[in-house]
């Protein structure tokens, strides 16, 4: 589904990603872990198409298309979803209108007519229940005045609404208490099918107790320096990143 080859990216002339290689197949859950400043969030941003980062090399193929040639909205319509680490507040734009515009665009891309208003509201209600979002959304502006937990739940709710092929969760666990974390993880797990894939970006292994990955990658200094199974996360929790850092520093 997603194939990243030797991806390099910089910001303001500073190279952040120094050659990333990653293969994600349908049905897989990947975790990308790593110490602060290793390039985890940059990777998520580059995949979503944030233009402050300049891609200086490599290829990204998504479902047979050159992802790097697409703008952010096209990537979304092709099936990529980024759950933001810091969801943006948009005063004055109601969640209903926001989601309506997004769902309509996605449907248009698939050659479908826009949903009727009543149908859309029912769809929204259904997805809200699925991700256990109990907050009243009607009449509220996107993320405005939301608590940290509400914002993250709202990201998962949007993911449920848009049903992406590939969801990238950028530090979705940061700032969450254990209850909110469970709700968020539950939502992500419910949305999982054999046809879609998830990349979970996280600093701590705590989230991985709830969203169980198939493959774990350790990102350090702009490169994936180690890939392994679930046990890798437990090792990291026990011993920290120091060993891996030392090894990697020797290599590069």
């Amino acid at each position: 589904m997603l194939s990243i080859k030797d991806l390099k990216a910089e910001i303001d002339g500073k190279e952040i990603l120094k050659g990333i290689n990653l293969e994600v197949k349908p049905g897989e859950v990947h975790a990308v872990m790593g110490p602060n400043g290793s390039g985890k969030s940059t990777l998520a941003s580059v995949l979503a198409g944030r233009d402050i980062f300049k891609v200086t090399g490599g290829k990204v193929d998504f479902k047979g298309k050159n992802l790097l040639n697409l703008n952010p909205e096209e990537r979304s319509r092709e099936g990529i979803f980024l759950a933001f680490q810091y969801p943006v507040e948009i005063p004055g734009v109601s969640i209903t209108n926001f989601m309506r515009a997004a769902v309509d665009e996605q449907r248009k891309h698939k050659g479908l007519d826009p949903m009727k208003a009543s149908e859309f509201l029912r769809y929204m209600k259904e997805k809200k229940a699925l991700v256990e979002l109990d907050a009243k959304l009607e009449g509220r502006a996107v993320n405005e005045g939301f608590s940290g937990g509400e914002k993250k739940k709202n990201e998962v709710f949007q993911m449920a609404m848009l049903e992406p092929d590939l969801a990238i969760l950028d530090e979705t666990d940061s700032g969450l208490d254990i209850d909110a974390l469970k709700v968020v993880a539950n939502g992500v797990n419910k949305l999982k099918t054999k046809d879609n894939a998830t990349i979970v970006i996280t600093h701590y292994q705590r989230l991985l107790d709830y969203i169980v990955p198939d493959i774990i990658h350790v990102l350090y200094n702009g490169r994936i320096v180690k890939t392994g199974g679930r046990e890798l996360a437990l090792d990291l929790e026990k011993y920290g990143y120091d060993e891996i850092k030392k090894e990697a520093d020797k290599q590069f």
């Binding site: 198409g49 233009d51 909205e73 979304s76 948009i90 004055g92 926001f98 665009e105 848009l162």
Partner: protein
Amino acid sequence: MTQTNVKEKKFADLYFGQEKFLFPENIRANSVKLFLETDIPNNKTENWRKFNSKPIFDHNYKLGKKLNFDMSVFDTLSFFEPESNRIVLTNGYYDESASEKKTEDIFIGSLKNAEKKHKEIIKQHLKTKKNKNPDYFSVLNDAFVKDGAFIYVPDNVKLEHPIYIMHFIQSDNGNIFAQNRNLIIAGKNASFKVIHTFHSLSSDFSFNNTVTDIFLDDDAQTEYYLFEGEGNTAAHVSNVNISSKKGSSFKSNVITFCGSVVRNNFHAEFFGEHAEIDLKGVYMPDKEQQVNNFIDISHSEPNCKSNQLFKGLIDNKAVSVFTGKVFVARDAQKTDSAQSNQNLLLTDYARAHSRPQLEIYADDVACAHGSTTGQLDKEALFYMKTRGISEKKAKTMLMNAFLKDVTAHISEGSYRDYVNFLINNRLKGQHPESLCNVKVCPSC
């Protein structure tokens, strides 16, 4: 007096014609004198800084005639509710056949005609501006105005439907100069809404110089909606003077949609405690339009509240100027005043000048002011795009959200829908000129 006596020769026509002027000759003579002594506002006139009056004085004008009004125009103005009271003026003249009074308890009509019937109340409220804010355009209005709208809602009368004052400019040939003086009086505990609109039915250049005096007696509640929808070949100066007595509430919302150069002056003063004045506005100039909002609120009494919220979307090479003056007298303790001016510049050439001016002599007051000028939030745009929303749609949604702070406060549904309809079409890229043209049905 000869034509050459009139300054700049622009308003020469004013001296001729058979109609009577609004003010009696003995009073008017002073105004004419004062007018001839008053300088045209320029960039050095403090209250008119950044105002470019050149588009006004670039043209020669003649006075518009009293024309037969085509009633089918109402069909093109979707906010218009036929069951409401209305005063129609064309080229500054009261149009009796197009105007209609639906409510028994109130007095509406021509100000000139009202002089006989409501002698006392007119004498009390209709004054020249020689002592107060004698700026060029107010004095011009004093000197040569002939008529305007009169609204008197007596004590305790509460109206469900709005009262319309609708001004139409219609040229048969040449550039039109129109003036009017409007007087709105709210009796004690009266409650009503006024929708005051300006439209152009022809494409010649026009200049409309309007003075509207609004008086609120104790506990009166008035909502005042001003809509500037004359075409982009129109210049418009509007002077709104508000006097608020004890416990009254005045809320206004001014939408500046069209006009080559538009100046909205609001002078508000409190004459009693626990009164509230709320002034809001939206402007969205395009091309080389110039929109100038000037607010001057005088807190001369304690325990009063004032609020200003003006938001602008400035496109192309357009210029906006916002000046918000708040004066708090030494005895006006517990004054609560807030002011906010926010501008979005849509191009690199668009300009916004924001000038908050607070003069506070009392020590126990809350006076807030804020001003921001910037571009659309890039983070929000990116966030929306990652959900599949196109850049164009995302921008439209953000601009709509930006203006909603103001337009959502319009309590009159049909008028709010009309304003939102125009804004939506404008944001979709339609030029205000075509939207303001009332001859073309906007919803067809």
